[in-house]
């Protein structure tokens, strides 16, 4: 038994139901306050001047004319930030130093009385650049003659170090067994190379913030973020502040998906506020969001898998190359770790290369690094199934990871739900439904780690018997509802009696960012324990009231009760009764809990897609799509389904249309939603979601995170469906109409040649 074993089987009353979300009315009536919705007296408008060059030395910045313009209160450049910081790359990404490293890189910023004055001032800032050659493609960036972004960069992780400048920041390696010996045992070996393009998280709300910072180093920041404590940490570092003096409040958030787990404009707004002595608001345009926030990596991947004729995989290898923009930190290690995580393999090896290129610094995007790897691996598995004439689910079941499997990234799995998702998919009516003309069906599996992290929760029992819960994890997926449900369940009260709020950094202990699918798991765990602590206090109050020992009282069904008739014959006291007399029995009743939660439990998913191709245009249309995923325990099933559906839709967009398109000089050509096409509701059928529940031993109710795994299989699922419909293996994402037409033409040419 692990020290993280917390699961207790029980019957639920509130958990598992589908109550209305507490933030719903505010959002549909426009009352909710998002990042750009707050103003302050005397507020200035900030604007950021960005490099038009993908790679250039900044020789000089002349701000004199801009500073003289009426209405301009401050102009900042890199010199206005702290000199000796811990987060050097974050600072350089927020405000360039010696070089501009990508099209859109911030080089200066202005605070003025109106947005139009700020824009005029930006035109008066004279920046002298020495333009350098740029590279945006990952394989080209690894080439011997590639332009070098950072002169001092050396590859970490190599056994033999090279002193030659490079764009390769790190080499990772995972695996076990002997892949060469495994390939010798194989009856069939399939090798393929794949590419994926960078995509943006596509959140509807652009980054926005309002900053106020006095010359005394005390300030406040309002911003849309997935992690306001991390924003505080980064901003304090970049501005040279004490964390205690900067209070950060998270606004409502219009989508994040990982892209709001760092800072872009917040330190700039604070620098402008400090220099001007006035509050400063900055709101990114959509163009800026694309050019200068953090998309995911593009990738280039080689895969080789060997199998016996019965379908047993004897060896598996992948070489993964991810560019993560202008600074080290692409999620290639997670790609290399997750690539073969669905399989029980004796011989497996993955190598990951973290590469820099002249693109914006990547940010996390839902299961960062895993979807591209799954696309490559699951495509080859699908091809093997075809060559062996095996059902693709049967091939996966034959090699599926289960409890006791040594994962390809090292550890041995405990209870996992992959096989349950595969069996559910195989038995689902979707899998046996007939296909129409020009249609193909694809399936694929996906894996994600999940984690718990640092979490604080404070709970208060109000005098009227209602309960408030303060959490520090911004709600990006309905967590206020699920946390309220868990507290209501634990205290035995109605869901409507609980209100969960997102506290600011000054009023609650530290919380890690809302990421890693961690909130329902970790914040939920802490909320349950906080409720148990409050219930313990309420039992003590009842015991005092009855004049019996506190250990003779238990909390059941929302009441303090004598543990048995031996303890005395007392009418149970409800939460409301105890709350009403709190002032008389010892004062306010509260519960809190702080934890660095481990035991999050890994997650698996299987997807099925039916795709119809138009042979004349190459357009692929999703006709039917079903997600099967293990949720451990679905606290609010509608939100779990929403996470499954949302991840699938984002993955479908990644598979079919979305891509960053650069010209030869490294300038982004499609920085807007007209030219960067994300799927909308009318593009898609209803995404069916099948929730499976294999309890996670690490959570009292069995919860597993569900927010990320659902984006892992769609790239491969759709690719396998299109490949089936087209009769040719698709190896490059996005599978936009020109690429599909090209693939169809290749089939026709091959047939004609025969």
């Amino acid at each position: 038994m692990s020290s993280n074993d917390r699961f207790e089987s029980r019957e639920f009353k509130v958990v598992g139901t589908r109550p209305l979300r507490p933030d719903g009315l505010d959002k549909v009536t426009g009352k909710a306050q998002f990042g750009a919705d707050v103003t302050a007296p005397g507020m200035l408008h900030g604007a950021i001047l960005r490099s038009p060059h993908a790679h250039a030395i900044i020789k000089k910045i002349d701000t004199k004319q801009a500073e003289k313009l009426e209405g301009v209160h401050a102009v900042v450049t890199r010199t206005d930030f702290a000199k000796d910081v811990d987060n050097t790359d974050v600072l350089d990404n927020c405000m360039a130093g010696e070089k501009a490293l990508y099209d859109g890189h911030a080089v200066a910023a202005v605070a003025a009385t109106s947005p139009s004055v700020a824009r005029k001032a930006m035109k008066l800032i004279k920046v002298t650049y020495k333009v350098l050659p740029a590279v945006t493609d990952v394989d080209m960036a690894m080439g011997a003659d590639a332009p070098i972004l950072h002169d001092g960069m050396q590859t970490e992780g190599l056994e033999k170090k090279s002193r030659k400048p490079t764009n390769i920041a790190q080499r990772h390696e995972f695996g076990h067994g002997d892949v060469d010996a495994g390939f010798k045992q194989a009856d069939l070996i399939v090798e393929r190379s794949f590419t994926t393009e960078a995509t943006h998280q596509g959140y509807i709300e652009p980054h926005a913030c309002l900053a106020n910072l006095g010359r005394d180093g005390r300030g406040e920041l309002w911003c849309c973020t997935q992690g306001h404590y991390y924003v505080r940490e980064l901003c304090a570092d970049l501005l040279g502040l004490d964390e205690s003096q900067l209070r950060v409040t998270a606004s409502e958030i219009g989508g994040g998906f990982g892209g709001k787990t760092t800072v872009f404009i917040e330190p700039v707004a604070l620098a402008l506020a400090r220099k001007s002595g006035r509050p400063v608001k900055i709101v990114m345009s959509r163009n800026e969001v694309f050019r200068a926030s953090g998309p995911t990596s593009s990738s280039s991947i080689d895969v080789k898998i060997g199998v016996k004729n019965d379908g047993t995989i004897t060896a598996a290898f992948a070489d993964l190359r991810y560019q993560g923009g202008a600074y080290p930190g692409s999620p290639v290690e997670f790609g290399a770790m997750s690539a073969f995580a669905c399989y029980n393999l004796e011989n497996v090896k993955t190598i990951g290369w973290d590469v820099v290129a002249n693109r914006p610094k990547q940010a996390a995007y839902r299961a960062p690094g895993a979807p591209m790897a799954a696309f490559a691996i699951e495509s080859v598995v699908d091809e093997i199934a075809g060559k062996l004439r095996m059902d693709p689910i049967d091939l996966r079941l034959k090699n599926a990871a289960a409890a006791g499997t040594k994962a390809s990234f090292g550890p041995v799995y405990s209870d996992i739900g992959l096989i349950r998702t595969l069996e559910a998919a195989k038995n689902h009516p979707h899998y046996s439904a007939p296909l129409g003309p020009n249609q193909g069906r694809g399936i694929a599996c996906g894996f994600w780690f999940n984690f718990g992290g640092q979490t604080s929760v404070s709970l208060t029992v109000n005098a009227d018997g209602t309960v408030g819960v303060a959490v520090g994890t911004p709600d990006i997926g309905g967590s206020r509802a699920s946390i309220s449900q868990m507290v209501a369940e634990e205290l035995g009260i109605e869901y409507s009696q609980v209100r969960a709020l997102i506290a600011d950094t000054a009023t609650l202990g530290f919380n890690d960012v809302t990421d890693g699918s961690r909130v329902t798991f970790a914040t939920g765990l802490a909320a349950i324990e906080a409720a148990r602590n409050a219930a313990k206090i309420m039992c003590e109050r009842a015991a005092k009231t009855w004049g019996i020992p506190s250990d003779a009282v238990v909390w059941e069904d929302g009441h303090a009760k004598p543990v048995s008739s031996n303890a005395g014959d007392f009418e149970p006291l409800s939460l409301k009764d105890i709350a009403a007399s709190a002032a008389n029995t010892g004062g306010p009743i509260a519960g809190h809990y702080e934890i660095n939660a481990d035991g999050a439990g890994v997650s698996f998913s299987t997807h099925i897609a039916d795709v119809e191709m138009d042979p004349e245009t190459g357009r692929a249309e999703i006709k039917r799509y079903t997600v099967f995923q293990d949720a451990g325990k679905a606290i609010h099933p509608s939100y779990v389904e929403g996470q499954f559906q949302g991840g699938a839709v984002q993955g479908i967009g990644w598979a079919l249309n979305e891509e960053y398109i650069y010209n030869k000089d490294g300038q982004l050509q499609n920085a807007g939603f007209l030219d960067y096409r994300i799927p909308v509701a009318s593009d898609l059928p209803m995404i069916d979601a099948v929730i499976l529940e294999v309890p996670n031993p690490g959570h009292p109710y069995g919860v597993r995170g569900v927010g990320e795994t659902s984006i892992v299989p769609p790239l491969a699922t759709v690719a396998n469906a299109i490949s089936a419909a087209a009769g040719v293996r698709m190896t490059s994402i996005p599978m936009s109409p020109p690429k599909v037409l090209e693939a169809l033409d290749s089939v026709l040419i091959a047939e004609a040649a025969e």
């Binding site: 692990s2 020290s3 993280n4 590859t155 970490e156 992780g157 190599l158 056994e159 170090k161 790190q170 080499r171 990772h172 390696e173 995972f174 695996g175 998280q201 998906f257 990982g258 892209g259 787990t261 999620p331 290690e333 997670f334 770790m337 190598i351 990951g352 940010a363 996390a364 995007y365 839902r366 299961a367 960062p368 990234f409 090292g410 550890p411 041995v412 799995y413 405990s414 994600w448 780690f449 999940n450 984690f451 718990g452 992290g453 640092q454 990421d515 890693g516 699918s517 961690r518 660095n596 481990d598 035991g599 999050a600 990320e708």
Partner: protein
């Protein structure tokens, strides 16, 4: 003694070695041992790493117990979106 397995990204600090045995009883003791044996690794360890002890994954927990029969995988710091 516990079996310690480093992910391949740390090879550059260890002259290619990725497996060794350790008497460390906790994650903190293992971290100290790694820093002592491979001083250059400290900068990488300071960035953060995860530990899988007999299959259970820990991110930052110094006091997670390592038993003599344990297998410990040192992995990159887990993150997410």
């Amino acid at each position: 003694m516990a079996k310690i397995i480093l992910w391949g990204g740390l090879k550059g600090f260890t002259d290619g070695e990725t497996e060794f045995e350790s008497e460390a009883k906790t994650v903190r003791e293992l971290l100290k041992e790694l820093e002592k044996s491979y001083p250059a690794m400290k900068s990488r360890l300071d960035v953060g790493v995860s530990f899988a002890i007999d299959g259970a994954i820990y991110r930052d927990n110094w006091f997670a117990e390592i038993k003599p029969e344990s297998t410990v995988h040192v992995l990159p710091l887990l993150a997410g979106g």
